[in-house]
């Protein structure tokens, strides 16, 4: 593992991880709508067709159930397929393959078959893409035992977690925030892995902890900076993997800070924030000085009108306000 690194975007980090893993392991294949000739609708798979040829990188019809079904079958026969579903909103079409096939088959065959597959998909609002192209459905897949759910928020995490996801023998749903593809940061060179199920602490604090996922990291860091100027030091933790969830450091942080805010771009009701809040109150109840606060997308279909869309997604100002309210 190399310690050298360069500065690049999350798009570049994912592209690099795909190149390196396909180079390293001939069983890794890639499929999806426009992933080949076009290099992906978000240009994430650029250059892979040229590098590895149509045997390993191929464009599929617009048929999500077919794409993932193909990947499940390929995975069962010993390959390590990576299926791209352009928007996570469309994984609903493939959810039988993901939920009832990929997640279940290793158990229903008593471990005789594995499904080492990655479903890469883009989530998140902000692109003025309306209700059917803007959702964050991570909670759907977190609800299913047998699936791992990963949400990177930095270029380094994107590379390290994707390589681990490809090498993992379980089916992994790998969710990429479509607004963060241009987010820059260090990308470690070479064979860089991050174990699935480990949090990352982005900022140490003294007064409150904000637990944030994927797209919510940057508004949270911005809020932490604002709060710091007001003398409030906020700890910032990104779980990075939602399932399995690295609960222990979250409990520990809750115990130390006593004030907890959880931010996730999925819908607030029955979502990721609710699950994390429940685990915290179960194990850190006696240390909480305030009820656990949650921020998520408003419980409405994401509006097409930009002015309305912005209102439905958590932002830095709301995080500042809620932290201040807790500490008041």
């Amino acid at each position: 593992m190399s310690t050298l690194e360069r500065i690049g975007t999350i798009r570049e980090a994912i592209n690099e991880a795909l190149h390196e893993e396909m180079q390293r392991d001939p069983t890794v294949i890639l499929m999806g709508e426009d992933v080949g000739l076009a290099g992906g609708v978000f240009k994430v798979t650029d250059g892979l067709l040229k590098a590895f040829g149509p045997e390993r990188v191929f464009d599929t019809p617009i048929a999500e159930a077919g794409i993932v079904g193909l990947a499940v079958g390929a995975a069962m026969t010993g390959l390590r397929p990576i299926a791209e579903i352009m928007f996570c909103d469309f994984t609903t079409l493939a959810s039988d393959q993901i939920v009832n096939q990929a997640a279940k088959l290793p158990y229903m065959t008593a471990g005789q078959t594995k499904v080492p597959m990655v479903v890469r998909t883009a989530m998140g609002a902000g692109r003025r893409a309306a209700a059917q192209h803007s959702q964050s459905l991570q909670a759907w897949y977190c609800h299913i035992p047998g699936l791992k759910v990963v949400m990177p928020s930095t270029p380094a995490d994107a590379k390290g977690l994707l390589i681990s996801a490809i090498r993992d023998d379980s089916p992994v749903v790998f969710m990429e925030d479509k607004m963060m593809y241009n987010q820059k940061g260090p990308i470690p060179n070479g064979d860089y892995t991050i174990p699935l199920g480990k949090v990352r602490v982005h900022r140490e604090g003294r007064h409150a902890v904000v637990i944030c996922t994927s797209s919510m990291l940057y508004p949270t860091l911005e809020a932490a900076e604002t709060l710091s100027k007001a003398g409030i030091e906020v700890m910032v933790i990104d779980p990075r993997t939602l399932s399995p969830l690295d609960t222990e450091p979250l409990i520990q942080a809750a115990k130390e800070m006593g004030h907890v805010l959880i931010v996730d771009e999925g819908y607030r009701s029955f979502g990721v924030t609710a699950e994390i809040a429940a685990r915290i109150q179960e194990d850190a109840f006696d240390y909480l000085d305030e009820p656990v606060r949650r921020l998520g997308a408003l419980d409405v279909p994401v509006p097409f009108a930009p002015s309305l869309e912005d209102l439905t997604i958590p932002n830095a100002a709301q995080i500042v306000e809620l932290v201040k309210e807790m500490l008041a």
Binding site: G258, F285, D286, Y287, L288, D289, E290, E325, A328
Partner: protein
């Protein structure tokens, strides 16, 4: 119907109380646990909780002066129930001047948050208060809606510490670890105060400071707590010792126990037995459709003791004058706890009776004895006694021999425990037997052999058929 709310007895010596004020008004909806009023007794002023729910109708107040304990001071009425017409006759009070007009009930306009039993508080605040051993309810809440937060508890603790006025001449001879220094600074304790609080230590650690703070706040709080002056709890609500003549049963018990203790040479042997098979046997009998009344453990043990006594007649004997009298029948007394004291009904000729017969006979005899209805004949003539304290969770004890018998067997509780069976740990139901015998009549070894035989019979019920 209306429930009476009476002047409570708040301390052992209280016989009258003065109502300081009512915190609820006539017509208010009250619930079990609500604080209704404050009462001043001879010791302290105490908040009184409701043990009823309903609509409050107050009949006595601060103007009524000292009110005897037990007097009706209010009623809890059912919804839409007419108020109780209060006349002087319903009040066993020294005051008789009570308005005989029915009380007007006006609907209340809802609860008052100040009277909520639980103040809004955070779990962290309550935990910190428990750590510091202070009453968080006395802290002033500064959170939203007056919620008591952890910082409020810390501030309150700090106030308690500061009010202890510890300032004495400076002491530079002590050393603080960084942790100790931080905690001390948080509580505004200087080196001099610490030297006084933690005497005899020159190197002070965090734990020392925390312990000192706990002690300090504990003391300060005790002084300010309204409960501090309440009398401690005593075994009986008595202002002075009470003298009472001994009942006939108690007298007889005392005489026989003294006789036993004075004349006998008692030795107690204990042994633990594995009663798992016995339990299996009883459970099997209980579930067998052919068995109408399954025998109790008392019956099974009595029967087996009788069998062993037939084999060891010296335990079924008495010392009379210079002679040993071996009894021709085994009559087993069973110690029964009654309201009036211990009685020992006797089951006659146990050895020749079947388990079925014993079940019927003992059930009848023991239940009558427990109610004090056993006849004099039924309470005499025993040759051996069994006493069972298993219900009270006793394992081993030293029972006293019931004269003129030679021995008594104490039965402990049946209890699942880890036991070693074939060099392996196993969960078994164990039971301790305690045999007290008269060493004048029997030596240790034969008594031990008898107990061993009882153990064997109870551990291996299949031996019974032999």
């Amino acid at each position: 119907m209306a429930h009476e709310i009476v002047m409570p007895q708040l301390s052992l010596s209280m016989d009258k109380g003065q109502i300081v004020n009512w915190l609820k008004q006539t017509g208010d909806k009250i619930h079990t646990g609500d604080i209704l009023l404050e009462v001043e007794s001879d010791k302290a002023t105490v908040e009184v909780e409701s043990v009823e729910s309903g609509i409050l109708q107050i009949v006595m107040g601060p103007a009524d002066g000292e009110i005897p304990v037990g007097s009706v001071i209010a009623y809890a009425l059912a919804e839409a129930e007419a108020p109780v017409v209060v006349s002087s006759t319903v009040l066993p009070s020294t005051k008789t001047v009570v308005d005989s007009e029915p009380v007007q009930i006006t609907p209340s306009s809802g609860g008052n948050s100040q009277q909520l039993r639980r103040l809004p508080s955070s779990p962290a605040a309550r935990r910190k208060a428990a750590e510091l051993q202070i009453d968080w309810q006395q802290a002033t809440g500064t959170g939203r809606d007056g919620r008591i937060k952890e910082r409020d508890v810390l501030r309150f603790a700090q106030e308690l510490v500061e009010s202890a006025s510890l300032k004495i001449a400076s002491s530079d001879s002590i050393q603080l670890t960084p942790v100790a220094k931080r905690i001390a600074d948080n509580f505004g304790l200087d080196n001099a105060s610490l030297a006084k609080l933690i005497p005899g230590k020159t190197k002070i650690e965090g734990d020392d400071v925390e312990a000192a703070i706990r002690k300090l706040v504990g003391e300060r709080q005790a002084l300010s707590s309204p409960l501090a002056s309440l009398a401690p709890i005593r075994p009986a609500a008595l202002a002075a010792p009470r003298h009472e003549a001994m009942g006939a049963v108690r007298k007889r018990i005392a005489e026989r126990m003294m006789q036993s203790a004075r004349t006998y040479a008692p030795v107690t042997l204990t042994t633990e037995i594995d009663a798992s098979e016995l339990v299996c046997l009883r459970e099997a009998l209980k579930s067998d459709p052919h068995v109408t009344a399954a025998p109790s453990y008392n019956v099974l043990i009595t029967k087996m003791v009788a069998k062993a006594l037939c084999e060891y007649p010296v335990l079924n004997a008495s010392l009379e004058g210079g002679e040993v009298v071996y009894w021709p029948t085994v009559n087993i007394g069973l110690a029964v706890d009654t309201q009036r004291g211990l009685v020992v009904p006797v089951v006659r000729d146990v050895a020749v009776k079947s388990v079925n017969e014993l079940t019927r006979e003992m059930e009848d005899l023991l239940s009558r004895a427990a109610q004090g209805e056993a006849t004099g004949d039924e309470l005499t003539g025993g040759t051996f006694t069994i006493t069972n304290l298993g219900v009270q969770d006793i394992d081993a004890f030293t029972p006293i021999i019931n004269p003129p018998e030679c021995a008594v067997l104490g039965v402990g509780r049946l209890r699942k425990r880890m036991a070693v069976v074939n060099d392996q740990p196993a969960v078994r139901t164990m039971l301790v037997l305690s045999l007290t015998f008269d060493h004048r009549l029997v030596d240790g070894a034969p008594a031990a052999r008898f107990l061993q035989r009882v153990k064997e019979l109870l551990e291996k019920p299949y031996l019974w058929s032999l």
